[in-house]
């Protein structure tokens, strides 16, 4: 169990809801859910959710910390915003799901080999390196995120797409050598580092 997770368990022994309100993006909205279920019914990947949003909100109130944070459900969010558009109580559900996912990951509780968890990290690493996404590297990193073997398989599977993109001038093999970048890379990274520090500090120092 990560140190931070340990710390949080100690701190919020009494209430997972309070922990979520304190540490999760838009977490203070969770209490406003009235269990109508419109979000759960509106999700395009709904059938793949072990626990749909409305149920997750109930689980949070019921203190089911492990079940929620180690769930793959939040990682199914495609950010289509259907839930937000329809929620009669105006909960920013998409963001809460993102927030829960991030928080789970930060505490090291997200399911192992959760593909979206991995991909979103790859994506982040990719973009923060140069300030702009390097689509080729991102693609390759993705294919090989589960190791060489599966990587080659996926790569082959994706060959037609790659070639298609190449032919239509929408993919640049030279990107492997660096590709697009912003000028002030170091500045960007400094900014991000600061932002991270502030966020972590907020979590640690939060008085529940």
């Amino acid at each position: 169990m990560s140190d931070m997770n340990q710390a949080m368990v100690e701190k919020y022994r009494s209430s997972f809801l309070k922990e979520v309100e304190a540490n999760v993006e838009e977490g203070h909205w969770v209490k406003m859910c009235m269990q109508c279920g419109v979000c759960s019914g509106s999700c395009p990947l709904g059938p793949h959710w072990e626990h749909p949003p409305q149920e997750i909100f109930m689980m949070i109130r019921a203190g089911k910390r492990e079940d929620v944070l180690s769930s793959s459900s939040m990682w199914m969010c495609t950010s289509c915003y259907n839930c937000i558009a329809r929620c009669p109580r105006g909960l920013p559900i998409t963001h809460i799901m993102h927030g829960l996912a991030t928080y789970a990951k930060r505490l090291g509780l997200q399911p192992k080999n959760q593909p979206t968890a991995k991909f979103s990290q790859l994506f982040w690493n990719n973009l923060t390196k140069t300030g702009r996404v390097n689509e080729l590297k991102l693609g390759l990193a993705l294919y090989f995120m589960n190791g060489i073997g599966p990587g080659i398989k996926t790569a082959l599977k994706m060959q037609d797409v790659g070639l298609g993109m190449l032919k239509t001038g929408r993919l640049n093999p030279l990107e492997i050598l660096g590709g697009h970048s912003i000028k002030d890379k170091s500045g960007l990274q400094k900014m991000l580092k600061k932002a991270f520090e502030i966020e972590e500090a907020q979590i640690k120092d939060y008085k529940g």
Binding site: Q35, C36, G37, V38, P88, G90
Partner: protein, 426 residues
């Protein structure tokens, strides 16, 4: 009509629905002078368009008949139809009220014999039936219409039809020269009872009221049950006139929803429970009803009714706000959502969907003098001695029983104002 006598000991009641009628009659039967204004050609309001009342399943016209008889018998009440308030100024005990009276083109000579209706040909959407039916350009609002007097639709007044109507009337009742009138009334107190309107279902986009023929509203469903209504009293699908076998009722359609009406409309749960009994009565076991709800709000003694409906094996309750409706085969639709009691996804096919649309207040903006407090739900707040009192669904989302109760209270508040005035004037 311009010779309407009013003094600051007169009570003005605006709106001739069940609340306005109640307020006007109760005040008048306490010996007070009352002017009752109604925007449409007949009093009766929203309830006159209902098939039955919950929980007794009795017919609204039964109570209306009594109210109308009280109205006919009481000389203290002066009824003005087709009249709308445009402005109120002044203060408790001394209001000046501007009233716009639209021309009816039919005078008191009318015997309601119906010859004018026979004579004209043009047809228009029948407001009484929410446009589900056509009516002639010369018409009686309904069998229960009071005053029992025909109306000429302004759209035909200047046409041949208008002339035909005039020619057909042996009694000189059709008067095409009638023009809009503007009255200024001096009154002591005002009871505002303009009631509610169904929330515009087309704005609830996920339910596709504007896209699917077989998605209708609960008020339209009520009209279906009227033997003289659009379907001759039969429960049918608008798309093909077929008898439905599997009806969905969707609660909180526009209510308890910050995207629409923030408030709970109170009546919709009971209205739906009631409507499932229509289905049972007319179609028996041949038709199932499914109620999709968040909370069933059948409070106090009417919870008995709720439990009775629950015992009906043809009625199913699903705790779920339906996410959206998509097209199914041959006019059917698919309801998509999650039954939140234990997380069960559904994609249910129904051949008719009734939206329990919410109750939207019709309290207007820009009519009242300063100091009249209208809350964020657009209901009039009770404000001590303001002299203007909301009654019925101008004060809150109420059922008929509470509306009558509230209107009676509003009448007393108005009486207190004019009694005070009388005291001062001796």
């Amino acid at each position: 009509m311009s010779e309407v006598i009013a003094t600051n000991q007169t009570i003005l009641v605006v709106g001739g629905g069940i609340s306005g009628l109640t307020a006007a009659l109760e005040a008048a039967e306490c010996g007070k002078q009352v002017i009752l204004l109604e925007k449409s050609p007949s009093v009766g309001g929203r309830v006159s368009q209902l098939h039955k009342y919950f929980p007794k399943l009795c017919v609204p016209s039964c109570g209306l008949e009594i109210q109308y008889r009280r109205l006919k018998a009481n000389k203290n009440v002066r009824l003005l139809t087709m009249a709308e308030v445009t402005q109120i100024s002044g203060e408790a005990g001394n209001f000046t009220v501007s009233v716009k009276v639209a021309p009816r083109y039919v005078n008191e000579n009318c015997t309601a014999c119906g010859e004018c209706e026979k004579a004209v040909s043009a047809e228009f959407d029948d407001e009484f039936n929410y446009g589900l039916k056509k009516r002639k350009g010369a018409y009686l609002v309904s069998n229960m219409a009071y005053p029992q007097r025909f109306v000429i639709d302004p759209r035909i007044a200047a046409t041949d039809d208008g002339a035909k109507a005039k020619a057909a009337c042996k009694y000189g009742a059709v008067d095409l020269e009638m023009a809009e009138q503007n009255l200024s009334l001096n009154v002591g107190a005002v009871v505002w009872a303009t009631g509610w309107k169904p929330y515009d279902a087309a704005r609830i986009q996920p339910y596709g009221y504007d896209r699917y023929d077989n998605v209708i509203t609960n008020v339209e469903f009520e009209r279906m049950l009227d033997p003289f209504g659009p379907t001759g009293g039969k429960i049918v699908r608008p798309s093909d006139g077929k008898t439905p076998q599997n009806i969905a009722f969707i609660q909180c359609a526009g209510s308890r929803d910050q995207n629409h009406l923030k408030h709970c409309s109170r009546i919709c749960c009971m209205a739906t429970l009631k409507q499932t009994t229509y289905v049972k009565e007319q179609l028996g076991d041949a038709c199932k009803s499914t109620v999709y709800y968040i909370d069933i709000r059948a409070i106090d003694r009417i919870d008995d009714f709720h439990r009775k409906v629950k015992e009906d094996t043809n009625v199913t309750f699903v705790k779920s706000k339906v996410a959206n409706i998509t097209a199914g085969s041959d006019g059917n639709v698919l309801l998509n959502g999650v039954d939140t009691e234990g997380y069960n996804r559904y994609r249910n096919e129904h051949d008719l969907v009734v939206l329990a649309t919410g109750m939207e207040s019709t309290v207007p903006a820009g009519v009242f003098p300063a100091g009249i407090n209208i809350n964020e739900h657009n209901f009039i707040e009770l404000d001590g001695d303001s002299g203007i009192y909301g009654a019925g669904c101008s004060s809150d989302a109420l059922d008929v029983n509470r509306a009558a109760q509230n209107a009676t209270a509003a009448a007393l508040r108005a009486i207190q104002v004019v009694t005070r005035v009388a005291g001062q004037e001796g």
